[in-house]
Symmetry: C2
Subunit: 171 residues, 2 copies
């Protein structure tokens, strides 16, 4: 009973009217109160939906996490990149990226080449297999986005991305 004090029926000073009207809004939806105008809250809520979509369309089928997917897409679109640039683009810490690259390298999706220009630096290169998976998952993006069109018109989808770009400071 280490935590037996968690609930006490003699609770506190004001017993907050514990009647059949036990809690307000039993079934009704909650008021967001001050959160109503907080962008970050709404971003977090929307992220739950897009994350579930990602898992279903890409994450589960191809065994990729979000960052791994983003990384493959960046390598596909830009060719070899240094860890340095990946860290900036994906907002990762250096040790975190090292672990990520280890996993992808073990799976044979990328390899590390040492730069001949500056031998401290590396080029992260998609392997043939990595290229195949990158292209396959790139094609899964369109059907995934199409599912959002139940909730959003095509114009709203585009508008949303543009506005989010402004927030992210990507001008």
């Amino acid at each position: 009973m280490a935590r037996a004090d968690r609930t006490s029926d003699l609770a506190g000073a004001e017993p907050t009217a514990d009647l059949p009207t036990d809690r307000p809004n039993e079934a009704a939806s909650l008021s967001l109160g001050p959160l109503t105008d907080v962008l970050g809250y709404h971003i977090a809520q929307a992220a739950v939906v897009t994350y579930a979509l990602f898992e279903r369309h890409i994450g589960q089928p191809h065994g990729l996490r979000k960052v791994e997917y983003s990384m493959l897409m960046l390598l596909l679109a830009n060719g070899p990149l240094s860890p340095k640039r990946l860290i900036q683009a994906l907002a990762l810490s250096a040790p975190n990226l090292t672990l990520l690259l280890d996993r992808l390298q073990e799976r044979g999706l990328i390899r590390r080449e040492r730069s001949q220009v500056d031998r401290r630096s590396q080029n992260i290169v998609l392997t043939a297999e990595g290229g195949r998976i990158a292209r396959a998952t790139a094609e899964a993006a369109a059907p995934m986005e199409r599912e959002l069109l139940d909730r959003l018109s095509r114009a709203e989808h585009a508008m949303l991305i543009e506005l989010l770009g402004k927030v992210a400071g990507r001008l």
Copy 2:
């Protein structure tokens, strides 16, 4: 040298032209490729910004995490709520919520009252101190959002929240 094989200079088949033009786009910004139209990616990028704002305005000064803040706001706006409803509203797992409530209870911000209607259930109630912090941090929301107006007009801010609401399925 457990991982000495991480980089090999004899890398792979095609040595990917390792010249002074070592990597493309050395300083230029990266192409997003297929990510360009993926809403989830842009949400994640924007979340980095709003999270930093939250940390600076609310998280650090008041020692609150995002979920903790959201929870206080929901309790402030709706009065006592059951763990069940908080789980649904905040997209948490039950064990996760238990730990969260433990922390807030230890800090004296909330208390657990047992429901008289259904004694399995609880009411989570803001303490006097919890109410004070909730009101103080509620007031910090406006200045936080104001910082976004460098990047977004007021109309765009409102539009963005509306569109994110559609994505989250909050109709």
